[in-house]
């Protein structure tokens, strides 16, 4: 215990006083306009890609559990492909898709075409990352959602079916809401992972947090300082996600335990009140207590 403390203090001291760290520069760049724009892009990329992943994951999981072999086989094939290839390869693939399909046409197959567009105008860097990461995430989310669905007691589905609900109504209203308790914790994990994976946009010249900080570093050679800046922001953003996850989990725990534990805010509030209460209750006793 003492050794750990001494080590921590000495490391902390050397970090704080080492002039090479240039803490001033880190503080300076932390709220630089280019950096904060990168932070916003990173948040947008994360939310968009994760949203695609969750929607796709639910769809693929429900398909996978379908009694129709074509439907469940299609889902299996998708997961097999996207889990089996590196996400970086997928990103580069989407970025260069125009090499395979120089123009996109919408219309009657083999008949008249109404709309012609070049993929290069649709597939921007931003879209590439959202699509690439979202499609990849769908494969992982589908397994998480499937685990959640399987965890719900079979009797729940039977009760819903016996009341006349269709398979889809049963899934949407009865099974999925209960599966959420199992789905949420790993989804929080996935979202945090997604936040950090958006930094892969760097390889296709993205405008996310890591890319912009590397661009700045390329000009002023303060490489370590800008990596620090990026890391501080990534840590801050994942911390915010923790809070979101906590409250979502509480919402989906309805009815599962007799009384929910208090939220941190409620706990603090109660703490203040109970201290006051104690002070009042023990007030008269202080007279008997010897003061040192």
């Amino acid at each position: 215990m003492v050794i750990v403390l001494v080590l921590a203090v000495s490391v902390g001291h050397s970090v704080a006083t080492n002039p090479h760290f240039q803490w001033g520069q880190i503080g300076h760049f932390l709220f630089d306009g280019r950096i904060t724009a990168g932070v916003v892009t990173t948040i947008e990329l994360t939310l968009a890609a994760q949203a695609i992943g969750v929607v796709l994951g639910i769809l693929l999981a429900v398909m996978r559990l379908s009694p129709n072999p074509v439907v469940s086989g299609g889902s299996w094939l998708y997961v097999w492909f996207f889990r089996g290839t590196p996400v970086l390869v997928q990103l580069l693939f989407w970025y260069n898709i125009a090499a395979l399909f120089p123009s996109l046409n919408f219309g009657v197959p083999f008949g008249p075409q109404f709309i012609h567009i070049s993929p290069n105008s649709v597939i921007t860097g931003f879209m590439t990352v959202v699509l690439g990461l979202g499609l990849n995430e769908g494969a992982y989310m589908s397994e998480i959602v499937r685990a959640g669905i399987i965890s719900v007691d079979e009797g729940q589905g039977e009760a819903a079916l016996s009341l006349g609900m269709t398979r889809l109504q049963t899934m949407r209203r009865i099974v999925l809401p209960q599966a959420m308790r199992v789905i949420l914790p790993p989804t929080g994990n996935e979202t945090i992972s997604m936040l950090k994976t958006t930094s892969l946009a760097y390889v296709i010249a993205g405008s996310d947090l890591l890319s912009v900080s590397q661009n700045i570093a390329a000009a002023n050679y303060e490489i370590m300082q800008l990596l620090f800046v990026a890391s501080i922001w990534y840590l801050a953003l994942t911390s915010v996600l923790y809070v979101g996850q906590y409250y979502l989990e509480r919402y989906y725990a309805r009815g599962s335990s007799r009384e929910l534990p208090p939220t941190p805010l409620q706990r603090i509030r109660r703490g203040i009140f109970s201290v006051r209460h104690d002070a009042l209750a023990t007030g008269p006793l202080d007279i008997a207590r010897p003061h040192s």
Binding site: L163, T166, Q169
Partner: protein, 256 residues
């Protein structure tokens, strides 16, 4: 004019799970307003038969009708066509089912459990559904538990919510799958009372049960099943007092 069709009619119903033959030719009729009790040792196929009636289990052979309609199929000419998912659901909506382990929706309050299906399946307006659900929960003696979650209710209370939930769809037939088997002995009475009232109001009921007292008092007919066949059937007071078949005698001597 012929007599009205029976509520349930089974002709040589067979059901297999893999190689295991669970039902080996069940034939019976349940008239409108009749209360039929099915008894038998575990593994005799009585629960499986109950589940074929609302098509939770598909039958492999035989014919099964509810209110004159084939269960799960439609007949065109001399060929049977499987019903689509939506049509199966429509028919199920008219048959209430109560499970041994209640199967209430744990993320919904008692009231929400009861209004869910009428709102979603029948599109009943919220105000109407709430009014009817409140009346039903009062009828089963739970007027003070409307906002309780299932985890806050005793087993007997949960089962009564489950009965109210099934009744909310205004079914023409009620299936009970060992409704009191998972209950503490002192809670059984409340649930049986609710079922007794239901029978008195003329509901057609098929009850898989181990409650011989209920079968004797409330049942209009009794079926004893063993190894996937009906061994003996008749008036419950008659069968329970003077069973004819040796297998029925052996079973009753153990449970009575």
């Amino acid at each position: 004019m012929s007599a009205p069709a029976p509520m349930v009619k089974a002709e040589g119903v067979h059901k297999r799970f893999g190689r295991l033959e669970v039902l080996r030719g069940i034939s019976l009729e349940v008239a409108r307003g009749e209360v039929m009790c099915i008894i038998g040792p575990s593994g005799s196929g009585k629960s499986t038969f109950l589940r074929t009636i609302n098509h939770l289990e598909k039958i492999n052979r035989g014919r099964l009708w509810v209110d004159g309609d084939l269960v799960g199929y439609v007949q065109r000419g001399d060929k049977l066509h499987e019903l689509r998912d939506g049509d199966v659901s429509k028919r199920r909506a008219e048959i209430g089912m109560v499970f041994q382990r209640f199967n209430l929706f744990p993320h919904k309050t008692a009231l929400e459990n009861v209004i869910e299906a009428p709102r979603l399946v029948r599109g009943v307006a919220k105000g109407t559904a709430l009014g009817e659900a409140t009346a039903l929960l009062e009828r089963v003696g739970l007027a003070d538990k409307l906002e309780s979650y299932p985890s806050q209710l005793s087993g007997g209370q949960q089962q009564r919510v489950a009965i109210a939930r099934a009744l909310a769809m205004k079914p023409k037939l009620m299936l009970f799958d060992e409704p009191t088997s998972a209950l503490d002995p002192e809670l059984v009475g409340d649930v049986l009372d609710v079922m007794r009232d239901l029978a008195r109001d003329g509901m057609t009921m098929i009850v898989v049960t181990h409650e011989m007292g209920f079968a004797r008092e409330v049942g209009d007919s009794l079926v004893f099943m063993d190894e996937g066949v009906i061994v003996e059937a008749g008036d419950p007071r008659e069968v329970l007092a003077r069973p004819r078949e040796p297998r029925t005698q052996a079973f009753l001597s153990k449970v009575l």
